[in-house]
Subunit: 311 residues, 2 copies
């Protein structure tokens, strides 16, 4: 087995919680370096302030995982590809559609692997829902993604800035499941985005989708003002009357009220297994569909204003 | 020479002003039918209320031009491709990025030609600017697109609705020139969109762009509140100090203050010549870059509110 010498760029919460332990447990990867503006150190790896220094000092590095905030991912990923590295991108893979399309084209030109990860797609229940829907028409689909922003994003001021996505930061996880399980492309038909009057990103959104086939209604409700029980559910009714309920953010699937699949989430374990396969096959996996749906929602969405948000 | 039997779907102002006379003067096309919800008639062509009736009654029709409002273009173009027709799309080619990407994939699967037209790209001065910039770095670029909405869009309520694009309706013409003349991809780095407080689309926008290369500043100013002289200019300074001024919406090019190219616009003549070439080669031309920049501007743009707009 090839062991890839990997570097991580950006050492925030998701890196500490997921990437570091998952890489340590995967024999296909050997973490040899990290690039951290704040100079954070990781046992067994060299630390660099800038990716360019890392590439110069450690030419044996062949893979990087980019876990910085999305605003700087495009420049960092371009620099990595230019240096001949294969690249894994945390979600969302770039700040804009144009940036992501540029990265896909550049990776192809460089002959390097580019892997856009959408962690919510890596769930056994999601894969099973996709397989069940492959041979059915979806008649009705309702996404309900309601959580308490104060609980999950304390102190994260950037999520309220323009380009910070607001409630689409969790909402894009639901959209990544939607595009994964639907057997045909999905389009945003209309959208209402609710902005707190003191914020530049929405706190809630209502979306209506269309497909190229017939259907009754396909909708999503995102809300960051949900206290008490939190909801990350997708309920689907097929044309034959079967009801699928994907609950807990894609970790549990019920079919007609009966438990079908429930697995302790192992999203990042699956992501790094897939990455090892892609590297072996020298094949990129660039999935821009979730980011496109967000951009389309902002493009055609009507803006409503609500009371100011204070943490 | 093959003569293509063409049908036009949607008989609004741009069809009357441009498509009808230009098709009549181009021997590669024979206008045999029109599809008009309002039942508008055109000499020498049969009129149908719905495209499906047109396809059924006239199987010899091989090409359609879709000139409806953008909100319905995706469904109409899909229906045409499914019926085996080659398709020309007026600008903007679809309401969302997801819709346009779906049309490109479907046209390829159907083996039919899809042609996204951006009329401002079809100017001798634009082509010459592109050729001049092919071997230079752009140091500074400033788009100024300022016109009087009351003069150019009287009574068009749909442009003020969500998804109606607002000032990006003319602005996307500037963006289509930008992506055509720039030798490398362009990204939106930041955007400010100014909405009248009674409208769901912006009346003005300020954009800042980035490229993968070094540059000083790349900007665009769109404004629909310009009375008096109207401005549709792009001024470019190269790293060698050459100044290009594309004026009058791309019809005139000055280089270092000297007139270089000026031609009476023949945008739609050139569009239909290109379409005939694409049909001959059975080759699609799908340019999504201008629409992507608009979607990206809405995605990362900060929203400002200004006084209500009343026509």
């Amino acid at each position: 087995m090839t062991v890839h010498k990997i570097g991580i760029i950006g050492l925030g919460k998701i890196t500490e919680d997921q990437h570091l332990p998952v890489i340590a447990a995967n024999p296909a990867f050997d973490l040899v370096a990290v690039s951290s503006q704040r100079g954070i150190k990781v046992d067994g790896a060299r630390t660099f302030r800038a990716p360019a220094d890392m590439y110069e000092a450690m030419p044996e590095l062949d893979v990087v995982a980019v876990c910085t905030p999305p605003q700087v991912r495009h420049a960092i990923a371009r620099e990595a590809l230019a240096a001949g590295k294969h690249v894994l991108l945390e979600k969302p893979p770039a700040a804009t559609i144009s940036e992501l399309d540029d990265l896909a084209a550049f990776a192809a030109a460089q002959g390097r692997v580019l892997f856009t990860t959408w962690h919510s797609q890596y769930n056994a229940a999601v894969a099973h829902a996709r397989d069940l829907l492959a041979h059915h028409s979806v008649k009705r689909l309702a996404i309900t993604w309601k959580e308490d922003v104060r609980r999950w994003h304390p102190g994260q001021k950037w999520i309220w800035t323009a380009g910070g996505f607001g409630v689409f930061d969790p909402g894009i996880n639901a959209l990544s499941i939607l595009t994964e399980i639907m057997p045909t492309p999905v389009f945003v038909r209309s959208a209402e985005l609710t902005f707190p009057e003191n914020c530049d990103a929405p706190i809630a959104a209502s979306l209506a989708f269309a497909t190229n086939g017939p259907h009754d209604s396909l909708t999503a409700e995102f809300d960051w003002r949900q206290t008490g029980p939190q909801t990350w559910d997708i309920v689907i009714e097929t044309d034959e009357g079967t009801e699928l309920r994907l609950a807990n953010g894609g970790a549990r699937l019920e079919v007609n009220g009966e438990l079908d699949v429930e697995r302790k989430p192992a999203e990042y374990e699956d992501i790094y297994h897939r990455f090892a396969q892609l590297l072996r096959d020298n094949r990129s996996l660039v999935d821009s569909a979730p980011l496109r749906l967000v951009a389309d929602s902002f493009l055609i969405g009507r803006r409503l204003t609500t009371e100011p948000f204070h943490e």
